[in-house]
Amino acid sequence: MNNAAISPPLASVVYLKVHEIARRPVLEQARLRAQLEAIIAVTIAELAPEERIVLDATDGAAVAVFRNPCKALQIAERALPAAGAGLQLRIGINHGAVELAAHGGGHNALTGDGIATAASAAHFASPASLLMTRSFRDALADASPDLDVSLRPAGVFSDAGLRSHELFSPDKGAAARRRKRFLAIGAVAVIGFIGAGVAVRFATVDREQRFDRLFEKVGIPLGDYRQALRRSIGIIGL
């Protein structure tokens, strides 16, 4: 059976939740929504229209990005600084199944676990922060293995349906810290290996000289067998 034919499409869903929008006066809600739409318009500008779908949510919006987790992460990271303009976003990203559905009044909707889990992740994110699920991390690592190192575990959270989500958050300094760690490990390795080589070398030279003095003192002639003897003594560790 062809699995591709029966599997629902997978997409990276960026859920942008405006912090406490429902509690604000309606005019402010309208202003925040307009602001959010402007931010989305700017952040998705680089994406081809056939690669993304923008969705309305009751507390914000969501963008489903097809086949490009790196772009999804980019959208989220570009949207976050909006907090500086008074729009506190809580962003969740998930990579999961989505499906076309009817929404009433002849309108289309997108449904699926990809959206629900992204909404859960956004729910757990604090204002002006971003959380992503394990499945998104895996998709990101698959698409760009050097990017997943810049994420760090944020913890395991349980949603209202008692589903556990292992979430990650971006860590700008993680790559630099890893590079420094690698540098330190490399430096230790270099010093260790070369130091060990030098030590072995010196130990060997020193030992040869001690053997020569010992042989001379006891009067053993330095003949053809001296080399063999020295090696034997060296081997047994004297």
Binding site: R23, A116, P145
Partner: protein
């Protein structure tokens, strides 16, 4: 109930029957003292002696509270009393059309719908300020008067009828279609419950469809407590975006997130009207932060009379609903496409994917092996190269 044809009740001379409800009959009557025509609403008292005392006490308490409400959008109560098994309220006699009938006649223009809701919200705001909660706002309790005026009817009746639920097994207490989630869940009800009910009425006027449908009462109650509505503008393109937000805020399941003040709701509706060019926005229409309104009747418990359809096992249904109701914070899993962004190309791709798309869309992420990691991770590659080089150099120094 009094047997035979009623000709007089208290000092009122009965002129004719105006209508019948679940609780009693409404008569047109004449007040000989003040020489005016009134509407006389009768309510049948319970036969049980202990229940009757409680019933009477509540009826008179509510009638007094409602009688103090003097507002153009609230029907005036002139008098109340009891005679035999009948309690009665003498009210202002009004000629108009029930909103329920108006909605059945045909579509209500958006501007008119907002105007009706704004007047109702304004009237309710006045009542809430005085600690009176209606608890049974529905199209059948809103009367449309000539020249666009609106009157809210049956103030306080719903609370009187709570005793029916407790004392008379199998009594029909009404449809829960216009109840708030806290009402159907049996939680304490306050003025925010009325705001939710006005939200439902407004939604139905705007969309010309029922918001909470169901094949039975339990399903309707479940839907009231759980189902998120589609934005009215998606069902009626004439609805402005701001009104979507107003309706959404009025219909928040969590009373703490809903409008906290009915006047604020009315003010937002006036702003929508101004946006549509229907009426000048008042100078005070600036939206302010929500302020809680402590209605003394807040802890009155579940209300909501009504009219025709409640099943005899209503209490059981309420209990079941409580068990079924998930948390209000359950994530959304179905999102409508934004009308502000063009997603047609992606939709086409999803609806009719090519063979290549089918494979690509369904491709599950692969775990990264060490070789892929090495190929892409420059830092790791450098580290390993450094270690290997250091090991070779160290070996060379030692043994060559």
């Amino acid at each position: 109930m009094a047997k035979g044809r009623l000709t007089r009740l208290g000092r009122y001379k009965i002129l004719g029957e105006v209508g019948r409800g679940a609780m009693g009959v409404v008569y047109k009557a004449h007040d000989p003292v003040l020489d005016r025509t009134v509407a006389l609403k009768t309510i049948v008292m319970t036969q049980d002696a202990s229940g009757r005392t409680e019933y009477e006490a509540r009826f008179f308490q509510e009638a007094k509270a409602a009688g103090r409400l003097n507002h153009p959008a609230i029907i005036s109560i002139y008098d109340f009393g009891e005679e035999g098994d009948l309690a009665y309220m003498a009210m202002e006699m009004i000629e108009g059309t029930e909103l329920r009938d108006r909605m059945l006649q045909g579509a209500i223009p958006v501007r008119e719908a907002i105007d009706i809701a704004e007047q109702v919200a304004d009237g309710l705001g006045f009542a809430h300020e005085r600690g009176v909660v209606h608890r049974d706002i529905k199209p059948g309790n809103i009367m449309l008067m000539p020249r666009g005026r609106v009157k809210i009817m049956d103030f306080g009746i719903a609370r009187v009828r709570i005793s029916d639920l407790k004392t008379q097994t199998g009594t029909r207490i009404g449809t829960p279609k216009y109840m708030s989630p806290e009402q159907v869940l049996g939680q304490p009800v306050d003025h925010r419950s009325d705001i939710f009910s006005v939200g439902i009425v407004l939604y139905e006027m705007l969309t010309r469809s029922s918001l909470f449908l169901g094949t039975d009462t339990e399903q309707v109650m479940y839907n009231v407590a759980n189902i998120q509505q589609i934005s009215p503008s998606r069902l009626n393109s004439e609805v402005p975006a701001t009104l979507d937000l107003v309706v959404k805020r009025a219909l928040e399941k969590d009373p703490g997130v809903r409008y906290q003040d009915t006047y604020e709701f009315a003010s937002d509706l006036r702003n929508c009207l101004a946006e549509l060019g229907g009426r000048e926005a008042p100078a005070s229409a600036v939206v302010v932060d929500t302020l809680p309104l402590d209605a003394p009747a807040a802890a009155a418990g579940r209300g909501g009379e009504a009219e025709k359809t409640m099943k005899p096992d209503a209490e059981k249904a309420v209990d079941k609903t409580i068990l079924l109701a998930p948390s209000a914070s359950a994530p959304e899993s179905r999102l409508a496409l934004s009308s502000r962004f063009n997603s047609v190309f992606a939709l086409q791709r999803l609806a009719a994917p090519t063979k290549r798309d089918l494979v690509l869309f369904a491709r599950v992420p692969r775990p990264i092996g060490i070789w892929r990691r090495l190929r892409h991770d420059r830092d790791l590659r450098r580290l390993i190269a450094t270690i290997v080089t250091a090991a070779l150099v160290g070996g060379a120094i030692a043994f060559i």
